[in-house]
């Protein structure tokens, strides 16, 4: 039986939530489960191209712990999911409009493109949907 696809709507700019999304997306994708991530709102800020690691992620106490203990970088984890599994990552077209960014402002070779929420929700029908 084919695995139910997983759809993750990532809105939060908090390090903890971005990392949880990266963990779910990468592990799901390498477990023979199609995964799609839609990055919007504050979350898009963490995906700015060549942003210094020191201010890419903002979070609370657990974020500080992850940084102290050198937990793997969230974007690196997303990249591994793409390389090793069936993972697609979309940038919210509304978030790009509001920031005034084009896709070149986002981390390279990470996104499959820009997408509207309507299309993402339509694609997600029948899958498991998680919002962070």
């Amino acid at each position: 039986m084919a695995a139910v696809p997983l759809y993750i709507l990532l809105c939060s700019g908090e390090h903890e939530k971005i990392h949880m999304a990266a963990m779910m997306a990468s592990v799901g994708a390498v477990s023979e489960r199609p995964v799609e991530v839609f990055v919007s709102m504050n979350a898009i800020m963490a995906f700015a191209r060549q942003k210094p690691d020191t201010n890419r992620y903002r979070g609370g106490a657990f974020s500080d712990l992850m940084k102290q203990k050198n937990v793997s970088d969230s974007i690196t984890l997303f990249r591994q999911g793409r390389e090793l599994g069936d993972l697609k990552i979309w940038a919210c077209s509304m978030a790009l409009d509001v920031t005034g960014w084009d896709e070149d402002r986002l981390e390279s070779d990470l996104f499959d493109g820009a997408l509207g929420l309507t299309k993402f929700l339509s694609d997600a029908e029948g899958g498991q949907f998680i919002t962070l």
Binding site: M23, V27, S31, L77, L84
Partner: protein
């Protein structure tokens, strides 16, 4: 003849050891084995679960001084 490759993932947190194992499996032949060394307790549970789910083979798992040795055979 099958070969065994060792991946030292000590110090990496979940899901790092699993991701290193999967990357390693892409590079070896069917029947070859990979031994993952991990200090992450969660990965010691998660890797066997992943192996079962995607139908590879768990050869064995041992623990010594807080380090798990997890041996996986590529089955497909």
């Amino acid at each position: 003849m099958s070969q065994r490759t060792k991946i030292d993932a000590r110090g990496a947190f979940c899901p790092g050891p699993l991701m290193e194992l999967i990357a390693g499996l892409k590079l070896v032949n069917i029947g070859d084995e990979i031994e993952v060394l991990s200090s992450d307790k969660g990965s010691a549970n998660d890797i066997p679960e992943w192996v079962k789910k995607v139908h590879h083979e768990l050869v064995g798992i041992t623990q010594h001084d807080g380090v798990w040795s997890i041996v996986v055979r590529k089955a497909k």
